[in-house]
Symmetry: C2
Subunit: 336 residues, 2 copies
DNA sequence: TTGAAAGCGATACCAC
DNA sequence: GTGGTATCGCTTTCAA
């Protein structure tokens, strides 16, 4: 049925070990033999069994990306394709494959044994929302290569990648200041949520001082964008720009300002995290920091490759912070 | 180092074949032995090597989803997570894994041999944009299990899944008619593009007659939404509703109508394909047909499983058309 | 019920 | 340069 290395060996009248060497282009084999064997492989339409190769080599060349489909609205959701693309772009050329594993079907208990012990994968990539302290500990104990998207307590710094969210805030604020705005507010996001805290911290850092009333947390949706803006406008001291936790928030903010007859960008600037497809089409178009999720995936892939292909043990290095990209649009256009 | 089936056999003082049988819960093994062996496996933290199992069984339990990262703006892009989720939800419980393979790293020539001959995967799922006539032919010749998202000439009907786009048009039009609109136009989409043709056909079918001027094709973006609407409004005979090829088109249409002072939904209804996150938040919110991409993935998974686990050869059945979901919002709210 | 031995399809070491 | 053979870790007859 299927043609194996033995068939080739027989047909070429050489030992199977020779065929194997030809397969791997070993320098000890004469060009003549190589040519002969290759011709036969071609002719017989031979393709080595990856399973057998992997078993013999004791290496699967397989990276697993763990997701949890039981939870919806996962961070990964929107940018999944980009992240996968990023990971693929670095592991693919090195001969690794990417497999998607759903935690739902694994079960947290069997998780470590499946992967770390069963060596179903050579390395793991996962979102920090999937990790638990025990999981991290077990993985660490076994010294199993894994990379976490986002920081997580107990995970070594050189195994974390993340978008530099604090930096995103800084970029947004610096852009606003450069445009002549002076007192931005921060709208949306829930206290305690790490993403929010990080962004808020960056926001605070890039300003000399921030009035407490200018920080308006709330679940990041359109309704809250509107409501929080309404509240903000009631203050005696008003901000002259608003940094938003997400496009949805920004959209709410924009609508509320329009209804109240406040001109954007003249009277109030709007700058926001994320860059969904509609952002360029609002009136005015929204200034965003674009989270480069492809780069994020690529960074994760790189870290993992470094870990897997290190010959010597590498010294611990910093986590990989992917720099966001500022997309300036009309909602903050007020050249001084 | 790693504990194998031999270690267990030795420790339990049984043959390795016995351990194997315990692993697979064979009925010929006494409960007593099973218990004993299992205890030892537990204790020694044993996990079978999937590689070895797969080689022995000659089956990898692996489904590959082929993508082409070299082309951007792929259809998959936006709904990738959902599609993967759908596929996973049906193959995961059956013990299959999903691996993502980038065509870019494979090369069209090596493609068939890699997968079909090398049996890297037991089955393939791919977008029709990736297929070529030769590829389809080769896969067919080798009788290799594959499912295509979207139709493709030469691919058997029972290997295709797609969103029922014609049906989507019908749903949109029927909704409009039910709301009292009488002469809808169709805006956006490029002639020749299969997706457009299918939707347009559904549109035409659900109406007694359509004026030619009411069909306004054009690359589906916001700018064209505006432009085409402008043109539409210049006609002596105006439509009273607009079906849009995409949310972006709809957004353009909406803006143009607003600028021209035409009331939505009173004077003109808007209904559109797709349902991006911002659709509920436009003013007024947009009526959409939501393409259920999770169901699409699930359908693909089901077809493949049927193909892989069929005992007898199955008779050819129809392709799987996933029904879209109508989300009625204010942009078409004009109860008669 | 259990065990021994022959695969599965490659790799790798060591002679020749 | 090339060939023989053990090995990777599990499954699967076939005997006992």
């Amino acid at each position: 049925m299927k043609v194996t290395i033995n068939d080739i060996a027989r047909a070429a009248n050489v030992a199977k070990s020779t065929v194997s060497k030809v397969l791997n282009d070993a320098p000890t084999i004469s060009e003549a033999t190589k040519a002969k064997v290759r011709a036969i492989m071609q002719e017989m339409n031979y393709e080595p069994s990856s399973l057998a190769t992997q078993l013999a080599r004791q290496k699967g060349y397989n990276i697993a990306l763990i997701i949890d489909l039981s939870r919806t609205g996962d961070f990964l959701n929107a940018s999944f394709y980009d992240i996968i693309g990023g990971v693929e772009s670095v592991i693919g050329p090195r001969g690794y494959e990417l497999t998607i594993s759903n935690m739902q079907h694994i079960g947290r208990e069997r998780f470590v044994s499946r992967f770390a012990i069963g060596r179903k994968a050579d390395g793991l990539i996962m979102d920090n929302s999937i990790l638990t302290p025990e999981l991290a500990r077990e993985l660490n104990e076994r010294n199993f290569p894994y990379i976490v998207i986002g920081e997580y307590p107990g995970v070594p710094a050189n195994q974390c990648v993340d978008i530099d969210n604090a930096r995103g805030s800084v970029m947004l604020v610096e852009h606003l200041l450069a445009q002549g705005y002076q007192s931005p507010a921060f709208v949306g996001g829930e206290s305690g949520e790490p993403l929010y805290e990080t962004r808020l911290e960056g926001f605070r850092q890039s300003l000399d001082s921030v009035r407490d009333e200018f920080i308006r947390p709330g679940y990041a949706n359109e309704a809250n964008g509107r409501r929080l803006t309404r509240e903000l406008l009631k203050e005696t001291e008003r901000p002259d720009a608003i940094v938003c936790m997400s496009n949805l928030v920004a959209y709410g903010v924009l609508q509320e300002l329009q209804e109240q007859g406040i001109a954007v960008p003249e009277e109030m600037g709007i700058a926001t995290f994320d860059n969904i497809p509609l952002a360029p089409y609002t009136t005015p178009p929204l200034t965003c920091v674009d989270m480069d999720t492809f780069a994020l995936g690529a960074a994760a892939g790189n870290m993992l490759m470094a870990r897997l292909e290190e010959s010597a043990v590498e010294e611990v290095q910093a986590p990989s912070w992917v720099k966001p990209r500022l997309v300036a649009r009309r909602s903050t256009e007020r050249q001084a």
